[in-house]
Symmetry: C3
Subunit: 261 residues, 3 copies
């Protein structure tokens, strides 16, 4: 099956005309595209947050989906724009680390630099490449333009330095928070398969900021309202929540998370 989806992940917010301009350009060229807003509420300039969101949505989308990802404080500078394919889905994004997690966890199948001005808006602004470059490129790709027509291939891309992997010692894993969601839940870089390889997580004790919060549960309602609870979240990473509350208000954004057995 071929997807007819063009999915947008940006820090544009929803109150300005920016997202709508991108959509208008896409639909002007590719009127049959189904545009999906992944989110436009990435914290302004927070490349890591967007990179994490991309990784999390990938498994839910059909092959052929085209993602546009824009967190782009360097817009108008010499930073490049990439067109890549990971595990059957496309991503168009500035080359500033946005594909870091995709690149570490999924096979890269195609990677081009977007440079053929034939596909750009005729009057190119220096501050809105999402509208003037990424939207028309996505729409032309959707309409059947081949990836090599947009520019030469590359194998050197920018990566974030953040540690995707927790540190494992003999009876302990030490991790960091990669993402805080809008329920205030902390999503760590401790992955279930890492633990299962060395120890299994049954009986292991979780601590946040050095404070023990017990073993890993399977649902929020295993604890009383207001109590913290650790569980394997929907992306198979260790999450710390507060039942009907907000873990981030209790533990902060930068709490070290550890697991000991």
């Amino acid at each position: 099956m071929t997807s007819s989806i063009i999915a947008l992940t940006t820090d544009f917010g929803l109150r300005d005309y920016y997202v709508a301009a991108v959509k208008g350009v896409i639909l002007g060229i590719a009127p049959n595209a189904t545009i999906v807003d992944v989110t436009h509420e990435i914290e302004p300039h927070n490349v890591q947050q967007a990179a994490f969101v991309l990784l999390q949505v990938w498994p839910s989308y059909p092959a052929g989906t085209i993602h546009i990802a824009v967190v782009d404080p360097g817009v108008g500078s010499e930073r490049r724009i990439l067109l890549g394919r990971y595990a059957g889905q496309w991503v168009i994004a500035p080359d500033n680390g946005l594909v870091t997690f995709l690149h570490r966890e999924l096979p890269v199948e195609v990677m081009h630099v977007v440079e053929n001005r034939k596909f750009f808006a005729p009057a190119l602004s220096s501050t809105f490449h999402a509208r003037d470059i990424m939207a028309p490129v996505a729409a032309h790709l959707f309409q059947g333009t081949l990836p090599h027509e947009f520019g030469r291939t590359t194998d050197r891309i920018e990566m974030l330095s953040v540690n995707s992997q927790a540190t494992i010692t003999q009876n302990r894993v030490e991790g960091v928070v990669l993402y805080v969601d809008h329920f205030g839940t902390l999503v760590s870089n401790i992955r279930r398969d890492q633990i299962d390889r060395v120890a299994g997580s049954a009986g292991a004790q979780v601590s946040v900021n050095g404070q023990s919060i017990g073993t890993i549960h399977s649902t929020y309602s295993d604890v009383e309202p207001g109590e913290p609870v650790a569980l394997w979240g929907s992306c198979d990473r260790l999450e710390v929540a507060v039942h009907r509350g907000r873990a981030v208000d209790r533990f902060g954004h930068d709490a070290p998370v550890a697991l000991e057995w």
Copy 2:
């Protein structure tokens, strides 16, 4: 006419990847569905607010529309998931009171428990049933799967204890606020048809928190900017607004609203 709409009402917010994951799963199975966001800004865990929004959007949607409603603090526990049909439209929701107002005001035509794992995601998370159960079930229903294939029927469902109906005495109605909208307008449980049956509302005096605000007007601009105004809102319930201002800032969320004649 058959609707091609799948409509989403959740407390997921718009900044995470949760809504997008749900949409990706739906479109992977039902690529021709038109997905409409009713809202994702339900206050976290506020089941009553979502239940009220469902009732309000119902009359605007065509028969056959499939609603997914998710405010689900009990996700992963033993709470059931329902698939019901009210007045020609479908709802898929956890069994925690989300259908309270629909159930009280509209005829229930079909009510099943969702339990056939054949329609669930193969790897079922314990915290994200919207993605792993409700989205694929909605998409398969859209594609033509019959309701009984999802699970057995039920006639016992959870209901909220909130009072949908105002209390009427001889020359007075006492109501409560059911909903506060983003303009700060208070929507009460006093319904026009109730009043019309006993007295008619012409000349009746409205009070909020025991303070009189005059008779019922027909538009906001019948009063000066900054002044409170009572009127029959777009859902035929008595509303209290402040012209170009916010009634909730003046009267609070829990103001008793009364009508006397």
Copy 3:
């Protein structure tokens, strides 16, 4: 090419059921419409902000697009509803200044008053004309109803008094901020073509609140993080930003912006 887009610009916010009701009504009548949310985050009752957003999105949309614009504190009063066409695209809006910038900058091709109740909802509320009038009118226009069927033409419409044009003296332009975006960037009424006619902007000095911030740059990253930067924005108006920061927090909403050469 004919557009299949109906685009919505409102101050309804995303947490209530208002936007969803409008969409349901449209899709009930015009199931093949592609609905695009321009924004629903216009500041409540801020007609100028919506008028500016309309002007900015216009160039990105294909001919035939139908825009519904609703910032309507006078709903239910005697204010009229307009159906106009500017540069090939349609707008349906209350007659309260919402089309001010479109009307000043683009050719008006058609302008009707919406008054034929045949196209309204049968039970007309006094507070929700977006659902009961504008949505069905847009949907019937989409389905092929001719503009004159909705009501007679008019050439007298309400306009805002805001100054769209900056004031030019011999070696100086004085402007005001028309719009503040969600990055905190100030968008002024100083237009590139105005300056190019009299002087050209190379070497000209920009000041905000009387404080000099240097010449006009081409990208945000021409200055250090935290420093203010002036540039021609994506709508060819002079913008003042702070690199990786918020200009509005530094200079306020009402800062006079000047250019001197």
